[in-house]
Subunit: 469 residues, 2 copies
C-alpha cells in the first residue's frame, strides 16, 4: 500500500475529508444510484514482483483522495464506504508500518470501512465505470485468493455506466479548491523543473542530460512525471520519447515536462529555448508568432467562450504571422478555412487538465466534447481534444505550436493541395526551426484566465536570460 | 516502436546478429520444436494514451536483442523469423521516423520477416512460455483490429511449456559475452549513480533529494532504473519505496539503486553510508560485520560451489560478528542452525542477475532452484532466491545485511524463541543502526569471482571519503 509523505498527509488531513464530502454530495445530486470505484494495484514491469511506480485510478483518487492500492469505495447518497485490507504481518515486515483501514477511513471521512471481501455485497445495485474494468479485474484476481467471486456480483451492472460517467465528467471538469491547491503544487514544481532544464542546457551535451536535470527536480519533490517527458531538439516529432540527440548550438530545445502530486494532480508545461542561449532571427520570428497565438488565446479565456474558438484563434494568429513572414500566401481566414495552418500546427490548442494530463481521456471524448458534438474530419480540427464552452473552474492547457514535420510537408497529396498557399523557397529560410511549442495551464475564472504556470516566463528575451544565467 | 540511441545501435550492430545467432543455436540444441516469443507493448498508466516507460519482455530481448514493441519472433532450428508491422503514416507523423521491419530484420540477423498478421501460421506447432501470456494477450488484442484470431492458433500449445522454460533457464543463466558487455555498462552507470548519491548527501535534506541525484545519472545516460530504487534512512524496511524522510546527521542512508541498459540488462547495487560522512562506532562495528560477510562470500565464489553454502557462510559470519559484539550469545554454528541470525538478516544473500534484476523470476523458482530442490520452510532459509551450484558464466548478487526490524524483533513468538540467544541490553547500544546492506554484482569465472561493481568501494573509510568529498 502506498502511504503519503507525513507532511503531505498532514496538509491534506485538514481539508481532505471535507473536500471529499462535498464531492460525494455533488455526485449524489446527480445520480440516484450507488457507485463502486476501484483503485487498481501494482502493474508488473518485467516480472510480477518488479512493478512500475504505482498510480491509482483517477476516478478513485477524486473521491478517495489518497493513492491507496487494492482498495474500493462505495458512494451512495453522500455516504462513503471504504473497502481495504489491513497489511498482513509479512507485509509489515517487508514494507514497514502502514496506515490501517481505520486510520485511512478517518483521514478520508469514510462513514464505514470493511475488508475487501465485503465488497461483493457492496456491489449490489451499484453502478460502475467501463473505464474501471482493468482495476476491477485486478480486484477480482486479488479476491480469488480469498475465495470471493466478485465477477458474479458485477453481472448486469454496466447499464448504468453512461449516466455515471456523465455525472463524473460534470464534477471533475470544474476544479474545486482542493483540486486547485494540488494543481498549483504540481505547477510550482514543474516550473522549477523547466528552470533547471534551461539552467543546465549550457553544460549539457545531450537531450538526456537536460531531461535528467528536469526530472530530478520532480523526483526531489516526491512527485512523479505526469506523462512521458518530451525533451528534444526534434520538436517536430510530436510524441518524441527519445533523448539521445546531441545538443548543437543552433538547435531549439523543446521540453514538454510536467509533475504530478502524490495524490495524482498534474501540470503540463512546454517551453522551447535556444541551446546557445540566443534565438536566431528566423527562430525568433516564428517563436513570436507562436507566442502571439498563445497570448491571444489566454486573453480570450472566460466562461462561455467556446474552446474551439480559441483553437481557431490560434490557427488564425499563426496563419497571419506566417503570411506576414511570407511563408503562407493568401488571406489568413481563408487559409484557416482550408486548413493550411495545419501544415505547421497539426494538433489542437490544448485539453482539459486535472488528475489526468488529458483529463478523463479514459472516457473517450465524453469529457472533451459537449453532448451532441463529435470530432471533425477536417485535417485542421480532427486533433482537437476539447470542444466545449468554457466554464468557471475548468483548467485547460493553451499550447499552440509551429512545426516542420517532414512526413507531413513532403506528403505528395498535401504538397499538391497546398502548393500555391506556401512559399516553399521562403520556408527554406526557416530551416533551423523544427519545432516550437509554448504551453501553459490556465484556470477559467469569472474574471478571465488565471495562468497557473505564469511564474515561468514565455517572452523570448526572458527565456534567453534563463538559459544564459 | 522503441528505437535505440544511434550510438548504441551502432555498437550493437557489430556483434548483435552473431550473439543472437549463437543463442538460437544453443536453444536449438536443447529443444526440438519451434518457439514463439512476444515482446509485449505499452502498459497504460492512468489512461490508454498515457503509458509507463516501455519495457520489452526479457525472454524476447534475449533472443531478439532490441526493445521492439508489438513484435513476435519464431525460433526454429537456429532460424529466426521476425513478425512486426511497419509504422503507419500517422505513426510516422506523431512518433517520427522509425526502423522498418526490413531494417530491424537485418540488424538482428533474422532469416525472414513478416507482418504481424502472418504469425498465426508461425504459431503452428510452436511452444510458448506461460510467463509470456500477458504479452501474448496484448498481441491478440492488437491483431483483433486486423481480424486475425491468434487465440485460436494458440490452442493446445501450453504443453511444451516446461521443457522450453528449462531450456531458456539453462541458456540465460550462463551470461555470454554480449550479455556481460551490457551488464558492465549497467554496472558502470550504477556506480556513477551511487557516487552521485554519496556526493550530494551533505547538501541534501531528504531521501528524495538523494534519490533524485542518483536517478538523474541513470536518466542522463539514457538508461532506466532496473527496479524501484530504495533510498532510505529506514533501511530496516526491506522493500521501502518512500523517500520522504529527512536526513539526520546520525542516520545511516541505505541506497539500493541499479540501472538497466536500453536493451534491458540490469545492475543491482546497494551501499550504506553515514549521512554525516562518519560512521558512529556502533555503526562501524556492524558495518564491518556485514562487510566481512560480503567479502567472505565473494572469496568463496567459484564454479561448483553451492550458492546456498555462500548464504550460510554469510549467516555464520554475521552470527560470529554479533557474538563477538555481545549481541548474540552462544556458538555461531548453533545460532545459525536455530536461525538466530535471521532476526537481523532475514533475507537471502542474493539472486541471479541478468535481463531481470531477479533474473527469470517470472518463471517462479525454475531458474533459482536446481531441479528437485524446493524452498525451505526454515525462517533463516525461506527467502533464499537461489539454490544451485555456481557455474562459470553465472552472474549473481552478494548482498548480506544487518537490520533491526521492529515488526520482527518485537514479535512475541520470536522474542520468546530467541530470548536467551540475544543480549537485548547490549543490542540497545546499537540503536543508531536500523539497516545496513552491501550488495555487489559478481560474475562466476573459473578463476573465482569477478566483481562487476568493484569500482565502487565498500570499505568504511572509502565510503566516508566519498560522502565527504
Ligand atoms: Mn499538453
Ligand atoms: Mn539485489
Amino acid at each position: 500500500m502506498q502511504t503519503l509523505t507525513p507532511s503531505l498527509a498532514d496538509t491534506l488531513a485538514e481539508n481532505l475529508a471535507e473536500t471529499l464530502r462535498q464531492r460525494r454530495q455533488q455526485l449524489a445530486e446527480r445520480v440516484p444510484f450507488p457507485v463502486m470505484l476501484w483503485s487498481g494495484g501494482d502493474q508488473p514491469r518485467n516480472f510480477p514482483a518488479n512493478v512500475y511506480p504505482y498510480r491509482a485510478s483517477s476516478h478513485f483518487l477524486y473521491f478517495a483522495g489518497l493513492p491507496l492500492a487494492n482498495a474500493a469505495i462505495r458512494l451512495e447518497a453522500g455516504r462513503l464506504t471504504l473497502f481495504m485490507d489491513d497489511a498482513t504481518e509479512t507485509e509489515a515486515l517487508w514494507h514497514g508500518p502502514s496506515q490501517t483501514r481505520q486510520q485511512v477511513a478517518e483521514q478520508i471521512g469514510a462513514d464505514a470501512a470493511y475488508p475487501l471481501a465485503a465488497q461483493a455485497a457492496g456491489l449490489q445495485g451499484a453502478a460502475v465505470l467501463w473505464a474501471q474494468m482493468g482495476a476491477f479485474q485486478q480486484m477480482v484476481a486479488l479476491l480469488r485468493a480469498q475465495e470471493v467471486d466478485l465477477a458474479q456480483a458485477l453481472a448486469g451492472k454496466v447499464a448504468d455506466n453512461l449516466a455515471l460517467a456523465q455525472a463524473i465528467v460534470q464534477l471533475r471538469m470544474i476544479q474545486d479548491e482542493g483540486a486547485i491547491a494540488q494543481l498549483r503544487q504540481a505547477a510550482k514544481v514543474s516550473i522549477e523543473a523547466h528552470q533547471a532544464g534551461m539552467a543546465v542546457t549550457a553544460q549539457a551535451q545531450t537531450e538526456a542530460q537536460v531531461r535528467a536535470a528536469m526530472e530530478a527536480v520532480i523526483t526531489a519533490n516526491n512527485m512523479a512525471c505526469a506523462y512521458g517527458s518530451i525533451v528534444t531538439v526534434h520538436g517536430e516529432v510530436l510524441h518524441n520519447h527519445h533523448y539521445h540527440n546531441p545538443l548543437q548550438p543552433g538547435d531549439l530545445l523543446l521540453a514538454d515536462v510536467g509533475a504530478e502530486t502524490e495524490t495524482g494532480w498534474a501540470a503540463d508545461i512546454t517551453r522551447t529555448w535556444p541551446v546557445s542561449g540566443q534565438f536566431s532571427s528566423s527562430q525568433r520570428d516564428l517563436y513570436e508568432i507562436v507566442l502571439a497565438a498563445h497570448d491571444a488565446c489566454i486573453d480570450q479565456v472566460k466562461p462561455g467562450v467556446e474552446y474551439r474558438s480559441l483553437h481557431l484563434l490560434a490557427c488564425r494568429t499563426i496563419a497571419e504571422g506566417l503570411v506576414d513572414l511570407g511563408i503562407l500566401k493568401g488571406q489568413p481566414d481563408s487559409l484557416v478555412e482550408q486548413d493550411a495552418h495545419a501544415l505547421f500546427f497539426p494538433h489542437g490548442v490544448g485539453h482539459l487538465l486535472g488528475l489526468d494530463v488529458h483529463d478523463m481521456e479514459d472516457l473517450g471524448d465524453l469529457a472533451g466534447y459537449a453532448a451532441g458534438r463529435e470530432r471533425s474530419d477536417r485535417f485542421g480540427l480532427s486533433f482537437l481534444r476539447l470542444d466545449r464552452p468554457l466554464e468557471a473552474g475548468m483548467v485547460v492547457t493553451i499550447e499552440p505550436g509551429f512545426y516542420q514535420v517532414p512526413a507531413l510537408l513532403n506528403q505528395p497529396e498535401r504538397r499538391r493541395q497546398y502548393e500555391d498557399m506556401v512559399n516553399w523557397e521562403r520556408l527554406a529560410q526557416f530551416a533551423d526551426v523544427r519545432g516550437i511549442r509554448i504551453e501553459d495551464d490556465v484556470r477559467v475564472t469569472a474574471a478571465g484566465a488565471e495562468v497557473l504556470t505564469a511564474a515561468l516566463p514565455t517572452a523570448a528575451t526572458a527565456i534567453e536570460a534563463q538559459v544564459h544565467r
